[in-house]
Every structure is written in C-alpha cells, then in structure tokens.
Point group: C5
Chain length 306, copies 5
C-alpha cells in the first residue's frame, strides 16, 4: 500500500492567545535563524542519561558551555531543567530565550512503564521569564493514563499564562515494543497526532526508522506500507496538523546525515530542529561550524508559515 | 426465556437545569436534523486508534475535513479532544456546536484494566463555548473504582456549569470478557443502566451483538434469552431510562446495514446516532450522500420526545 | 460456648446535632410506618447487579415503578444513586424522602479487593433535598485502608451538614472468605461494630448465616458458639450500640421467611428493614400486599426507642 | 555484649506550646492518679479485633461499660474511635478526658503491608473537646512511606491546635518478622526512637519480648545482647528521649505480672500504662480492684518528672 | 579511557535569592569553620538505622549529646528530624544553626523501590528558625517518578521562603545495583548531576568506590575508565556544577582515612563534610579532637569560593 498526503496546514499563530503568540513569535522571529524557524538547543541529558554524555567533549559538562553556545551561535532557545536554569540562566537572561523542561527521569530504572514526572511547573517558567515549556509525553506507555492527567494540568497552566507548550512526543513502554518499536513509523506517526490532540503548540519528534522486518508487527496499514524516509516524516508532520514540528536528533550522527534530515523535516512542513548531543558533543569551533550550516539549511528549506 | 418491554420514557429536558436545557436543546432543535434528534460526528479516533484510521480517506487526516463536513452537512455537533478543538474549532465557532471529549487513551497498551483519564475539563469546555462534554466510562473495568471517582467530578462540574454530559458507555476489561464479552447484550444493557444512574444526559451505546455461544457465559437470564437484534437494542435503550441514547457506529459497515441500525435505534426510543469512521472514511461527496440518508432516517423514524 | 446479651441501647437521637435529628426524625416518625421504625426501599441494584434483576418483573426496570411504590405504599424513604435521583426524584420531591446512595460498583469485576467508590457527595444530597446518605463499607476488604479514608470525608460532611449517615456494612474480600465467609456471624457482628465506631447513624446489616462447618474458620469464640438465628441477630444489633440497625434482604425469599426475619430484627432491637428485590420484583398489587404486612410487623414488633 | 544506659530525660512539658501543655497537664495532674502519671483506658478493640474481645465479659460490649469505668475509677483519659466518641462521650464530657484515636484497621486482612488509615482528624478531636489524639504508626511496614506522610499531617495539625500526640508505636509488616519479629527488643527499641523523632508527645510501647532464638535475626548488636527484661524496657524508654512513654498491655495476663510490668515501666522512666483487655475483660468490681492496685503502683514507682 | 576535567565553578551565592543567601551565608561564614566551608553534623540515624548506631557510644543516644557537641565544637549546623528538633533544638536556638531533615525511612523494609517520604515541611523549618532543609533523593530508584514530584514541592517552598535546599543525593534501588551498584563512580556522578538539575543548593555525596569488577556493569564510558579516587571525586563535584558539595561519611573509618577524604573533597572543589557516626560514635573528648582536625583540614584545603 502506498500513502498519499493531503493536508496544507493553516497558521498556528492565528489560533493562539496573546501570551502564547508573543512568546512563540519571539522564538520564531526575534531569536535564532528567524523566518519562522526554530533552532533549539536541549541540555537535559544530564538527567536523562547522566554525565556519561559529556565525556566526548569534557567542556560540555559545564552548563556554561551550552548557554554560551546558544547565546553566541544565535539559537532560538535553550531547553533545560529547573535547577540548571536557576543556576545558569540568570547570566543569559534576555540574551537567549529559555524553554523550561518540566519533567524528566533518569535512565537507571527500566522504562517498560515509563512516566516522566514534573519537577517544575509552568509558574516556575513564568517566574524565570521563560518563553516556553517542554513536556515529555510517553505515548502508549502503560502509564499513559497518569501522563494525560499530568499533561492536562500543564496544558491548562499554559493556556492560563499564555505559555507555549512544546511536547517531546516519545513512544515508550513495553506495549509499543510489541507493535514495531518506539521508532517505527506507526509509533512516531501516532505520537505526532496524540501530541497535537493533547494541545501541543510545538511537537518534538524523532525521525521514524523504517525497518520492514519490525514494521510487520505494526497495525495495518503500517505493516505493509511502502514509504521512503521523506514520505514517512512528511506523514508524521501532517499528523501533527496545525501544531509546529521540530525534529529531534538523538545520538551523534555524521554531518551529512544531520543536514539531510534537517532538510527533510523542513521540506515536509516542519519548523525546525532540536539537536543536542550532535551539537555540544563537538569542540567549540566545530560546533559553531555545524550550527551555521544547520541554520542555513533551516532558512533555505523552510516551506511552512507557522 | 423471552423478554417484554414496559417503559415509556418521560421527558429528559424537563428535569434539566437551565444551562443544560439551553445547550442540549441547541443540539436537538437548532442544529442538525432537528425534531429532537441528534446526529453527532466524533473525531477522537486520532487518539484512540492513531492515524491508521485516516488511510482509507487521506483527506480525513486533516481536521478541517471533519469540521467542514459537520458544518456543511448540518450536524448537531462535532466531538473532539481539547488540542484538536483549540486549533480547529475557532474557525467554526457558532457554525457547528462543539462537544468536548474530556478523556481518552491510545490503543497501544492492552485494555485489560482500561481507564480513560481526563486530559481536559468541563471548564475547558465552557471556555471554548462547547455545548456538551463527552466522557468515556469503561463499565466493569477492574479500575471502575477510579472511573467513578473521575466521573463524579465531571458530573458535578456539569451540574455546576449547566453542561450536558454525554457518556460513551463502553464495557471493557478482562472481567467482562469472561462474561460474554464487551459487545454482549448483557454488557451493553448493563452499561446503559450504569451510565444513566451515574448521571448521563445522553448515553452513547454500541449495538449489542447477539452471539448464542458467548452469551452462555453471561449471568442469568442473559445466558438463555431469545431476543432479536431489535428487541435487544430496545431493551438497552429502556435501561438508560430518561437519559437520551445515541447509537455508536464502530468500524465501517455497508450502507444498508448502517441505515437499518439507524432505524432500529430510533424505533427503539433512541435519539440519534454518532457515526465516525462510517462517515469520514468516505470521500467528500459520498460522505454527504450517506449523511443525507441518515438524516432522513433520523427524522422519519424518531419515536421519542426528548 | 453460649453467649449472653447485656446491653440496653440508649437513645441515638439525643446524641445527634439538630440537622441530623431533624432529618432522621422525618424518616422515623413523619414518613413510613412511624413509631420510630424505618421501612426503606433500595433501588441501586441497576448498578450493583445490572438490569438482570428487573427481568422477574419487567415493570421494575422503569425507575418510576420504585418511586411510585415508595410514595403510594408509604415508605420511610427510597435509596438510589445520583443519576437516578436527579432524573426521577423531582416528581416525588416532598412526597417520599430520599436517601442518596453515595458509592457503588458493578458486579462485573471480582470483589476480592472490593472498594466501592463515591460517585456523588453529601453536598449533592443536600442540593437534592435528601434526608440521609448511604455508604457501602466493605468491612475487612484488603482495601479497607482506602475505604476508611473515603468514609471519613463522607462522615465529616455529614457532621457538617447535619445529614444522617446510613452505612451498608458488608463484609467483603478475599480475607473474610478465609475466616468463615462474608455472611458468617463473625463477619456480620464485626461489621456492625465497625460501622458504629466509624460513625454510622444507621447500620444496614445482612442476616448472619449460621453454618457450623464454615464457622470453624472464624476466630474464637465464633468458631464454637452455639447460637440460634435470633440470638445471632440480637448480638449483631447490640454490637452496633447506639446506632440504629436495619435488616437487609438480599435475593427474593418466601413471604413467611421475610416476615419472620422482620420480626427477628425488630425484637432484637433493630429499627426496621431495607428490602429491595423482595419487594419490587413483585407485581404491583402483590408488592403492596407484602409491604402492608411488613409495615404491620414493624410497628407491632418494635422494641427500641431510637 | 552488655548495654549501659546513659540518659536522664529532661522535661517534655517545657518544650510544648501552650495548647499542648494545657491539655497534657490535665491528663498528668488533674485527672487519673496524678503525680505526672498516665493511666489510660483504650477501647478501640472493637475495630482492631472485632466484638470477639467482649465475650469474656459480655458487659464490656456496651461502650457505657468503659466510659463508666473510666469515670468512676478515675482514669487519666479514655481512648476510642470517632463514632464511639460521638455516641457515648457526650454523657461523660468534662468527667473523663478523651483521647480520640484517629486511625484504625480491622484484623481481617493480613498485615504484611500494614497501614492504619485515618478515619478522623485532629479537628474532629478539637470539636469533641478531646485532650489528645492517638495515632498508630506501623514502624517498619513496607508502607511506612505512606504512614509518615499521613502522620505528618496529623502532627502538623497537633502543632497548630495545641493537641498532644500519642503514638501507638507498633513494629509491623513482613520485613520486621525477618529481623526478630515485631515484639523483639530491636523492633520495640527502634519503634520508640522513630516515634520520638516523628514528633510523639507520648509513645505507647509494647513490652519487648526477649527470645534468644529469634533475636539472632536482629541486626547487631541486638543479635547478641545479654539483657534482662528490665534493662530492655529501660533502654526503649530512653530511646524515646524527652517523649513520655506508656506501656501497652496486650491480651490478658495474670495480676502479678501486670503489676510487675507496671512497676518496670515506671522505674525505667516511663509515665504510665494503657491497659485495655486486662481491665475491661474483668467483671466490674474486679476491674475496680486491679485498677486501684495499678494506680498505687504508678504513683509509688514514678521516677520521672514529665 | 582517561578523563579530563574542565570546569571552574562560578559563585552559587550570587544566584540565590536574598532569603537563601542570608541563611546559607550564616552556615558558610558565621558558624562552623568559616571561610566558606561547611562542617555539618547529621543525627537522623535514629530513624534511618535505629538505636543500634548508639551502642558504640551509649551517651550518643541522648540527643543532648549531638546538640551539645555541635554547639561546643562550633559546627556550621546540625541536621535532624522534626520531632528531634522540636524537643531538643529550643535549648540551642541561635547557638547552632538547624537543618531540618524533611524526609526519612527506617531500614526495616528492603529498599529495592526506595522512596523517602516527607514527615515535615519547609514551613515547619521556617517555624523552627532553621537555616536549611535536607532532602534525601534516591536517584535512579524505580520510584524516582514520585520522588521528583515530592522534591518539586519542597524545592518550590524553598524558593518561596528563601530556604537553602540540601539534597542527600543517594543512588538506590534494584536498578542501580545492576549497573555497578549504588556507590559506583557512575552512580555517584549521576546523582550529583541530577541533584544540581533538580535545584539543590548543596549536594551531599558519598565517596565513589572504584571497583573494576563491578564497574564493568556501568554504562560506557564508566565501564572502562581509569581514574584515581581523587579524580573520581573531582569529577562528581564538577557534575554538581554551581551547587556546593559536601562529602558524607558513612560508617566509622580510621582517622587517617577520614582526614584524607576530607582533604580530597576540599581539593576537588567541595565545600565541606557531613560526618555523623564518625564523630558522635566517639567519646566526648575524642570527638572534640577529631572535629578540631577536620576543621583545620577544611580551612586549609578549601579551594572554592561558594
């Protein structure tokens, strides 16, 4: 079975209340590459993976590294946890926008029943002068029931305070592993849709991995779809509807692939990228170099008006 | 054993407070087919099943499709989740009434212990200008204890704000599977009654499936009842008492069957239908066509004054 | 071992605050048989057992049946769930007192770890003009810890609003089954005492079933007691102390037995009966007939001043 | 290994806020034996064990029995549950001080994971005019995490309202059974300390049972301690620090033993006793007789100024 | 693989709000060794381990012992639980600063799924005049989801009241045992980072134990790192970033080792030590002696400005 695509997303900004619009426009137009694109720097790996991610580039262990990088390279925003933000953001207040990541977990216990609980709130974000909050939703986790309740409160606070909501839409848990896996087209596509329906202003997605063998375990029609990587990501972006989509990077890949997938997401109607280890695991000057190339790709490949 | 029917339901509207009455009348008389009937369009499948439901008709993936359909074909209301509503309803505000679906779950984890948690609230519905809320009650689930508590809060908010409460009354969970299954006459009949006793203004029911083999596992007298499909649905409608009943569609069936069951529910004292995939999995003009036929059936077969 | 009885209960009404006293007196003296007795009609079986209970008398499925019966036959009060009350009680407001049953569960999942959660509140009861609330306490359930917390809130609201609290004191769960069973003398006697100590104004008890074989599993001295049915029920009534006791009926039994057990409970110091299926599973005129006999028995056998 | 004792407890009353001091002084000096001792009568066994405890003395089943006993024999206070207190305490208000027991459980389910939940609150105690509250802490239970949270709220309310907090410090649960058992010196000593550190004004302890065989499973140095019964109880009293200690009785023992252990606890620096079944399972005049002897022992053996 | 270190921590005090700054400066400069160092005395072992820790020095069982020691030896602060503080701190108010330890657990139940729940609050700490609160975070426990939520509330209250937050960052639970164990370099390093990102002002760490055999189970690159003890602790201190680090002692070790590790932590950029059993399990004069040596080491080895 082949898939066709059909949607032309309308403007998200038009639907937002004044507070959300103000803050999101800041990220899309006033900081970063501009042109309605998002280049975001995540640095929550210290909680999610521990300090092991910092060994390839020891300088990256000092939170100053990411903040300075975000400021000097001209990022749309930097995303981090509360303690991190409280201790390092003050020196960069007004210089680079802040996305407060509200929930998190360590990788130590297994994530069969993953739930990422909130260690900070939208009010904390307001107090810090943040321009958005980040929330990890483990789509399809056996504990999704709790996840939806927790997200509801975050979403309502976002509505109340005019704070843009960015959902890290991650398929997780024992159940998805039996249906093609957390990186399957089925899983990512489902996650994109759920994030939109739950109220995400921006959805952070991983690139779907096409694996004919594992995809057989996905429900129809995913178990027999013939799609290219580009088509898959386009489909996922469409599933997010009016919500903006940014592509997540994962562990470090080579430059060519990084730029290629950046082009893919933008051509598919995405709004930008959120690459962490791919950036700050590089030495300073090399990091600046790849950032420049990403920025150019974003601006040159953008196809959607937010 | 045969069954006889005995009840003649009295008016529901008479028992409602002014807010509920105002809003529910709008759905029953001002929009849709009128005449006290309900033709509802549900589009929460993106969460419940994922985007796989959109492949038969790729255009249906864009939420615009369902909103435009509901508006142009003259629906009583459209039912969807919060993020969906916030992003697409504003363009249709006042044009088609909104039912905010308060809870939901993905189909990824098994539903042996199903609980559908609230990702939005009655206050969200009020803020959106919705005319009703939808709540999925998993009747008989091992987690029914939590479900009743959650529903209590929704029901109380509905009373407080004068918001009609539509209960998706779905038997679910490992226990019902041992007693004839979730679609058995026993299960649907029980669900109808529970929804009414929990405070539903409108109950959404699936058509009971008569299966003599599985029905043997149902408690007496269901294990030995001799009923036709029509009698079974009439019985279920009666179990809902003064609460209005709308029939749910499920996966796509052929036109004849769809119209027949529409007639059944209306002749049994039901108040309308809530068909999703049966409608929007059709191409635009075909959808309009079947909608027209359903509408005529509703108006011509209606037997109850709400 | 034989048992002796020793207590002469003092007046409950004297200990109640004005609100409770006003409402409970209404049930004891202004409605029903009067003379300080209680004849209560429960109709929560639609939730507890499902519509299967209505097949013996199809007319009983319509909530009108029980309300009309309660009104015309002169009941002390009718007990039902919130949705039921909201839809049918308005027509009988002031004609027959209402007991709002606050919690409930379906019989679909097993009750090894039974907990009956609240689908309505004391405030709902106040809003409806109810004269008492009903609460099912599953004495000895492995989830009794949660039950006591939930009951605490109900009890406190009852104290605050002056609302009489009727506890359905039902031994339940896997643990009691290993100690003689939920209907054993040990279990019922324990339940009566716990209900009193938790703050019941009225305790609803099942008749203890004497079964020498199973009673051997009860703790001493119950495992070797020589008691008659009358002595057992008297003992249970005494365990409830100053709290009033009403006897529950269970599934339908023959008239003679029904009247006999009515006499037993009254002679034992009980205050009345709460029979459901034994009444409304009868055709109208037969129901009226047995009600009349029960009423006479209550008045003629009453031994306690409430 | 031998143990030595080292501490001389300072005054507790000096550390208490005015409300706590007022109420606790009432129990220590205005009622009961006086002289800074506590003679408390517990009657929560109806919940904890059921009515089976009343068979040895049928009169004890009537709550009047304990209240009259406490009043006439001159107790420092009587301790009971909320429903019991609401129904029977009014007749004795001002005549005998009340300790409201806030939590409880039936013995029906196993207590491997024991948690005793609150069926009443400190505010209930204030409303009743109680002079202290009682709280059962299951030290070392697998659910101690929940217990500590629940106790926190009680302790904070006690601080707020100036209500003395008496902790029933009971080792319980599957884990302690593997370390020498709930009555071991290790267990009781640990419980005494935890109760003090959690904020008990008075700690209720069971007498530690020295059992060389089982004590081998206790952690060092308890697994090899050479102590007498007297030394053990002295050690436990010291572990409670400035908190007062009262000795619990358990099931009925002979008079000599009862008076001996009363002497032990007072000589060890304890402040009194809380004997239930040992008292009210006796016929009236016999009860009065032993109470008199206990009272004399308390006054003659007291070694600590509270 | 070898590791290099790269960070030079900036001032923490500069980032703190006035309340936190005032209180933390008091500990760093007004009490204790001064010079921006912290010498803290913990006495929460009565809850965590029970009275068994007091046998080596029976005098230590009396809370007076630790308070007097802290006061006379000139400690920066003493850390204890609420009941302990309420009963013994008043005599030392203003003489030695108080750290209220908010959560705790007994060692009786296994800690595979460890969670240390709060038995007191930041408001309790404010009421007592405490200068900081302590919170045990079980990093990597299967119940970390609950831990983060609980910590969030504590952290927010600390922000609100200007109360310094000291996190006992302890890897715990079944999962970490499979990845090298709770004392591994991987575990301690991870814990340090998580504590900082969760908002700790001060992080309490155990000394990582290098065990080539068990470290093989740690994730890369920890499974193959070649580090000395000094390098490991330096790395962990850096992972805590701007948060101050104090070294925890554990069970009693010999003097030389104690002073050596004190030097290590200070040279690594740490801010002090928090030794309990190593101090108060010594007889009074011996305790004073070692304290003096530790104090000198702190002041002479300090390398960081807080």
């Amino acid at each position: 079975m082949e898939i066709t695509t059909a949607t032309q997303q309308k403007s998200l900004l038009e639907t937002l209340n004044p507070g959300k619009r103000t803050r999101l426009r800041r990220l899309l137009y006033e900081f970063g590459p501009g042109n309605g694109t998002l280049m975001l720097l995540p640095i929550d790996q210290g909680v999610e993976h521990g300090p092991r991610d910092f060994f390839p580039n020891p300088a990256s262990k000092d939170p100053e590294y990411q903040f300075k990088l975000a400021a000097e390279a001209g990022y749309s925003a930097i995303a981090c946890q509360i303690g991190f933000a409280q201790r390092y953001y003050p020196d960069y207040a007004g210089v680079v926008p802040l996305i407060l990541k509200l929930n998190g977990r360590t990788e130590i216990p297994p994530n069969d029943n993953a739930l990422s609980t909130c260690n900070s709130t939208v009010e904390d974000a307001v107090a810090l002068g943040a321009d958005a909050v980040g929330y990890t939703l483990y789509v399809g986790s056996p504990r999704q029931d709790e996840d939806f309740i927790q997200l509801r409160r975050v979403r309502q606070d976002c509505d109340r305070y005019g704070m843009p909501l960015i959902i890290w839409a991650y398929p997780r848990g024992s159940a998805i592993e039996k249906k093609g896996g957390r990186d399957s087209f089925y899983a990512i596509d489902y996650a994109a849709r759920v994030a939109m329906e739950m109220g995400a202003d921006v959805v952070k997605l991983n690139m779907p991995k096409l694996d004919p063998e594992r995809d057989k375990d996905s429900p129809a029609p995913y178990n027999e779809l013939q799609v290219t990587q580009e088509e898959a990501i386009r489909h996922c972006v469409e599933s997010a509807g009016r919500s903006l989509v940014v592509l997540s990077g994962g562990s470090k890949v080579d430059d060519e692939k990084l730029l290629e997938q950046t082009r893919f997401i933008m051509q598919a109607g995405g709004s930008g990228v959120i690459y962490g280890r791919n950036i700050w695991q590089r030495e300073w000057s090399q990091a600046l170099e790849i950032i420049e190339q990403i920025k150019e790709t974003l601006v040159s490949s953008v196809t959607r008006v937010p």
